[in-house]
Symmetry: C2
Subunit: 293 residues, 2 copies
Amino acid sequence: MLKPVSQPFPLGLEMLYLVGLGLGDAKDITVKGLEVVRRCSRAYLEAYTSVLTVGKEALEEFYGRKLILADREEVEQEADNILKDADISDIAFLVVGDPFGATTHSDLILRATKLGIPYRVIHNASIMNAVGCCGLQLYKFGETVSIVFWTDTWRPESFFDKVKKNRQNGMHTLCLLDIKVKEQSLENLIKGRKIYEPPRYMSVNQAAQQLLEIVQNQRMRGEEPAITEDTLCVGLARVGAENQKIAAGTLQQMCTVDLGEPLHSLIITGGSMHPLEMEMLSLFTIQENSSES
Amino acid sequence: MLKPVSQPFPLGLEMLYLVGLGLGDAKDITVKGLEVVRRCSRAYLEAYTSVLTVGKEALEEFYGRKLILADREEVEQEADNILKDADISDIAFLVVGDPFGATTHSDLILRATKLGIPYRVIHNASIMNAVGCCGLQLYKFGETVSIVFWTDTWRPESFFDKVKKNRQNGMHTLCLLDIKVKEQSLENLIKGRKIYEPPRYMSVNQAAQQLLEIVQNQRMRGEEPAITEDTLCVGLARVGAENQKIAAGTLQQMCTVDLGEPLHSLIITGGSMHPLEMEMLSLFTIQENSSES
């Protein structure tokens, strides 16, 4: 008989809380999460891997407390500041979506554990499960990929192999689209000036255009691409928010469909589909303008 | 230029709300979800695909209202009762986890849409994303499988091919374990007596034992099984609840590890692992009794 597994830490101690904020706005936090945020001594807001439809101020107003913005640099290089006194008071680390969703915060947990600080996770919806709202079945998703902004000199295509493998296995592919916050221009970086560019969020249009370019590159190399202009895709914007939008159509249509403000995500369907999936997608089918076609 | 996609229904009308309750207890509902549940005219609780660690009464007390239990029969055959008057009042359909998580409720949405009833989804954590708490990266999960209770005459093995395919691609497999609620004994079924057996929830031990039996069957047939007694697995119980347990160990160890009350889930790892995944799993490694080994 194996010993019951004891979790690293008993509850009821002072600790680090990782709180998922869900998707949408301030009210998408769970009741349990809100109680933690209100009573803890410091609350950090992770602000570099995702965004809600409202800003820090709206969150502060609803939560009734100040939040400390934590950028990537701080979380990765100054984690000890975040964890300071977490053994004698409660510290909350707030994450859009779920703390173990698209981005895991394992680093912070491992660091806390090494310092003897207990932790607890308050889960919430993540884009990784909320994409199910388009009607595609979650269990039929294969490996998730990230599509990054191409530059003049860096145009990675390697993620495309994963899309191919997923489709060969009849699986859908969720594509998470790039977010650039607190980026410096090359000039400012070289000169060491802490001046940051405005945040950029990849749209479904941009992602689809990059995908089509890869398809064309593969054709030029004589390869048969795993997807074409006609592959059925789903564009999603602001999932979980009141003004969310979902559009089902071809990859070609994804290049021009207007989904509005960030955040966007894109799904490349797996080819074969369950009738119920098709019926759900039909609720979101793109209507072409009559002036076109 | 493509027309902006208009969603099926504008907001602010009377409608059907699908509300995710998250995992854990009454306080894992979101603030937005709680507001909907409190103000709607009828609130149904879907009670056949998952359970929280608390029952209907605890939910009713915290929500401050009565809930109507909806069993599978009712949702599948009498959906119109649930949707009655949803065009002139708000109706809430409460689902453990997320409405589009392990079980999708597309049927109910399509039915509502056909009746001209608007709907809205309030997302929450699902086992499909909360499993990330063990440290395995969500984007590296392949197709999700379900493991059902075997009977003397029905011992399906076909899901095992999906585990094999996932492992060939280096992907983890989440195994959702069977739940039997409101089942009739064969005798009661034949005699038409509406007497139901106590609910049954498959444990990690039972799932692991069935898996090992499949492995042995494959060996007897001269096939090389995709997993062995030594394959690294993760057992999870009551994910998101205060007393959640996670155990990382071999498939053999999963046969006897004591994880306590339902619900349980099992992950079969994909073989190759990121160092960060290994480090997180080490927090949950099963300790063998010294009297053993």
